[in-house]
């Protein structure tokens, strides 16, 4: 019966999600759950920062499947609100800065700074202060989008107002946006990679859900609302009033030249932002700017310098902080920034960044498709 098959597939999926750490990527494995001849077929794929687990159970002519985007849960390593690398420069807080949660900062201390002749500061700190090391903890994640094995489609192959939907148990659809200019009126959902060798500019009339955008430069225009994972090389600019819904992320890995991410005023991203590289010299060219009233829910990891004027609900790991005003620049200063680890919901599935020594990756469902 179909109902029994759904129940069986659910059991198989529960087994798979708890033991998927050892499963190889992109390989279908067979699973006989209760030794009665009914087989389930499982497959693990990467999808940006996250993994996609596919579980299908087949009996006679009936097939039931469950596909879910999964992330890492219970990351005991990543329980800090703030980490700033110790470069012998103390972290200075200014204005109405609040930090709730355990922090690791140079020498385990913070100082106050008075910027632009302010009369007083209202600093709120809650949580233990620990000493940070002279190196940012390295992350165990390298997001790579390999589109070479798929045949790319051009947008010209679709209608004027294309609606493209692709399931995660099908082959990935790659859409080459070369020479598209500004991407408007496109509806994309699912297992789709939008790629370009130059820059991609996305207007607020585009509806993107669960897709990956891969290009050297990505620019998301004001008013856009969607669910995307951006993998860029040089820069990502998020204009004002953009909502990147959970689970969305921005990833840049660059050692060759300057790279930057800017989150504009009143914009929100739920998921995380990662700017990474292999060399310390490259870190001097990597910048992250969280503008006023912008919010990041999740994790920020910046192997470079960060200017925080907005709000982070979750954690932020940054090599350095900086503040640039009209008159001058300051090193390791946070002005009017808010970091609140305590407000992050207990069951929030964070970006799987750090290696967990206690057990293999413990997966939890981020989203079911």
């Amino acid at each position: 019966m179909h109902e029994d098959l759904i129940s069986r597939n659910e059991s198989s999926f529960n087994y798979f999600i708890n033991n998927a750490g050892a499963s190889p990527y992109n390989k279908t494995e067979t699973l006989e759950m209760f030794e009665d001849g009914i087989m389930s077929y499982t497959e693990k794929k990467t999808w940006g920062f996250y993994d996609v687990l596919i579980c299908k159970t087949i009996f006679k002519n009936d097939t039931v499947s469950k596909i879910a985007l999964v992330g890492q849960k219970d990351n005991t390593y990543n329980n800090l609100a703030l980490y700033v690398t110790n470069h012998d420069t103390p972290l200075k807080l200014s204005g109405k800065t609040s930090i709730f949660g355990q922090i690791k900062v140079p020498n385990g201390q913070t100082e106050q700074a008075y910027i632009n002749g302010q009369e007083g500061n209202t600093i709120q700190l809650k949580g233990a202060h620990l000493k940070s090391a002279d190196k940012l903890p390295s992350i165990d994640k390298n997001v790579q989008i390999d589109v070479t094995k798929y045949k790319p489609f051009s947008l010209d192959a679709f209608d004027e107002k294309p609606v493209i939907v692709n399931a995660f148990d099908s082959a990935t659809k790659v859409i080459d946006l070369a020479d598209t200019g500004v991407l408007r009126n496109l509806v994309c959902k699912g297992n789709i990679v939008l790629t370009s060798n130059s820059a991609i500019k996305i207007a607020n009339t585009a509806k993107l859900n669960d897709v990956i955008i891969s290009a050297p430069v990505v620019h998301i225009m004001s008013g856009f609302k969607g669910n995307v994972q951006v993998v860029a090389k040089d820069s990502v600019v998020i204009e004002e009033h953009v909502s990147l819904l959970y689970p969305s992320s921005i990833y840049i890995k660059n050692d060759d030249g300057p790279s930057s991410v800017t989150l504009g005023d009143y914009s929100t991203i739920a998921g995380g932002i990662v700017i990474d590289g292999d060399t310390f010299s490259g870190a001097l060219n990597r910048t992250l700017k969280i503008q006023e009233n912008a919010t990041v829910i999740g994790n920020i990891y910046c192997y470079g310098k960060t200017q925080l004027k907005g709000k982070v609900i979750g954690s932020i790991y940054s090599d350095k902080f900086f503040l640039k005003t009209r008159s001058s620049s300051y090193e390791n200063v946070i002005l009017n920034g808010i970091i609140n680890r305590d407000s992050l919901p207990k069951h929030f599935i964070e970006l799987p960044l750090f290696k967990n020594d206690f057990n293999e990756r413990k997966y939890a469902v981020v989203k079911e498709f």
């Binding site: 129940s7 059991s11 198989s12 529960n14 087994y15 708890n18 033991n19 759950m33 209760f34 413990k362």
Partner: protein
Amino acid sequence: MILMKENMPLLKNFKQLKASSIIESVIAISIISVCALVAFTIYLNVIRQNKSTHYFNAKHNIALLTQESVKAKDYNDNIYAYSGYTVAKKVTINKTEHTVLLVFTIDYGGKTHVINKLINYDEE
């Protein structure tokens, strides 16, 4: 007499009606046979299940018990008595695989059915 006269053409036509040929009869019988076979197969499938309403009630309750076990992290054996049937829950925890096997045995009128469910093991 008038009535008879009026009915005469009808009677005449009736006499001229031809009987079905043997081929037509065979085709008709074949179609009826196929329909009967299909109906009988469906009927047999329904009969073969031979499960009482207790079984379906129990299945519904097992779904609820599974949800409760997940929610309350209840990994203990138990026996649940319902009107007309009982459900025994046997739990096997596999800490290595982070899973819990729930084996539900439905007992009604001397018949037993086993339903297996595998859920996540939450250590917290």
